[in-house]
């Protein structure tokens, strides 16, 4: 086999295995740990309703709040690992849901627009595109020094094009050409048969252009 094809096959296998494992852990957290904590919360609410002593009632209420916070965190962690919407509803709803979480985590506003009719994408490609967008948004939170991001989805007959513009401080692409994060974004899109092009200009921001061929 051609060494390049072999390398791509290995990369694809490693990524797929990792995604499977991530999905399993996310589901286990949500359906297992999360559900058990919810049962504990219901039990505490039952105890609280049967307690007359104010100090004890207050203590149980505090425990309920703590369990509530933990449930919320488990849910967020699970969604962060593998958004269920990605499997059930598709790429665009998953992105919308992720963006809500992103804004409340980093305070960065994201304007998401979709042009054209959303098409069905194989799950493997859906995950790849989602992860690349996620990586781009994480890079923006870490380095871009911006409050606004614009994401555009263009659904064409045979291609999905996504542009992510941050209007931030930008960087010198030549200096960060070897960055593993950027290389992984490009490699992941190459494995889907698509492309990821990153361009940046100091003072003007960074632009990520993702394209995915549609059957």
């Amino acid at each position: 086999m051609d060494p390049l094809k072999m390398k791509q096959k290995i990369n694809s296998y490693i990524i797929d295995s990792q995604e499977e494992e991530i999905k399993r852990i996310a589901l286990e957290l949500h359906e297992g740990v999360g559900q058990n904590l919810y049962s504990i919360l219901t039990g505490l609410q039952f105890i609280e309703s049967g307690t007359q002593e104010p100090a004890m009632k207050n203590y149980v209420r505090e425990m309920e709040l703590l369990i509530g916070k933990t449930i919320q965190e488990i849910r967020l962690l699970s969604v962060e690992l593998h958004p269920p919407a990605l499997t059930t509803l598709g790429l665009l709803p998953a992105m919308k849901s992720y963006i809500k979480c992103y804004t409340s985590t980093f305070g960065i506003l994201v304007d998401l627009n979709s042009d054209g009719i959303e098409k069905q994408i194989p799950e493997k490609d859906r995950i790849a595109v989602f992860r690349v967008c996620q990586e781009a948004l994480m890079n923006i939170a870490k380095y871009a020094d911006t409050s606004n991001v614009k994401i555009n989805f263009f659904w064409k007959k045979d291609e999905l094009k996504i542009t992510i513009d941050d209007f931030g401080k930008g960087f010198q692409p030549k200096e960060y050409g070897d960055s593993s994060g950027l290389a992984v974004m490009k490699e992941r899109m190459l494995l889907t048969g698509g492309q990821c092009v990153i361009s940046s200009k100091i003072g003007e921001g960074t632009s990520v252009e993702i394209s995915l061929p549609l059957e």
């Binding site: 207050n58 505090e62 709040l65 509530g68 916070k69 933990t70 919320q72 965190e73 967020l76 804004t103 409340s104 985590t105 980093f106 305070g107 960065i108 506003l109 994480m138 939170a141 870490k142 020094d145 409050s147």
Partner: protein, 149 residues
């Protein structure tokens, strides 16, 4: 609670602290009424308004860790030697903070808020400065007691 940033006495305590220890940023995060969400309700020396949209994740970042542990925390040179990922510290990223010291605010013996001071350079907050932050936190606890309980 949503009008906390307009509370004159709270603003006064925060501004005074900022001046006393010559820091560049002071932030006050509080748990929302009837919800486990913790948000930044007041900031001084902020570079943007991202703090208003940030919800502190329980156990994550400097404020989240303080609320879950109830203990003060100091970062001298962010992101060096941090526990977890850089993205677990949104307020540090949003405000470009490099050093910070933060203490919990207790209500009914439960940590429900965080007072954070920060600088945009490498810095170690002295014991005296740490005490000043603690004193301001105690003052804020008294001022906000009525809003929380």
């Amino acid at each position: 609670m949503s009008q906390l940033r307009e509370l004159h006495s709270v603003i006064q305590v925060c501004e005074q602290l900022k001046e006393q220890i010559s820091c560049e940023f002071v932030g006050l995060a509080m748990q929302n009424e009837g919800s486990p969400d913790v948000r930044w309700h007041y900031a001084s020396g902020n570079l943007n308004d991202k703090y208003k949209r940030i919800t502190v994740r329980f156990g994550k970042g400097i404020a989240g860790k303080i609320i879950s542990s109830g203990s003060p925390m100091m970062l001298e040179e962010f992101p060096a030697n941090i526990a977890g990922k850089v993205t677990d510290y949104p307020i540090m990223l949003a405000e470009k903070l490099v050093s910070t010291y933060a203490v919990p605010l207790f209500f009914n013996s439960v940590p429900k808020g965080v007072l954070l001071v920060g600088k945009r350079e490498k810095y170690i907050f002295s014991e005296q400065e740490q005490e000043m932050v603690q004193d301001s936190a105690s003052l804020l606890e008294q001022l906000l007691m009525g809003d929380i309980l």
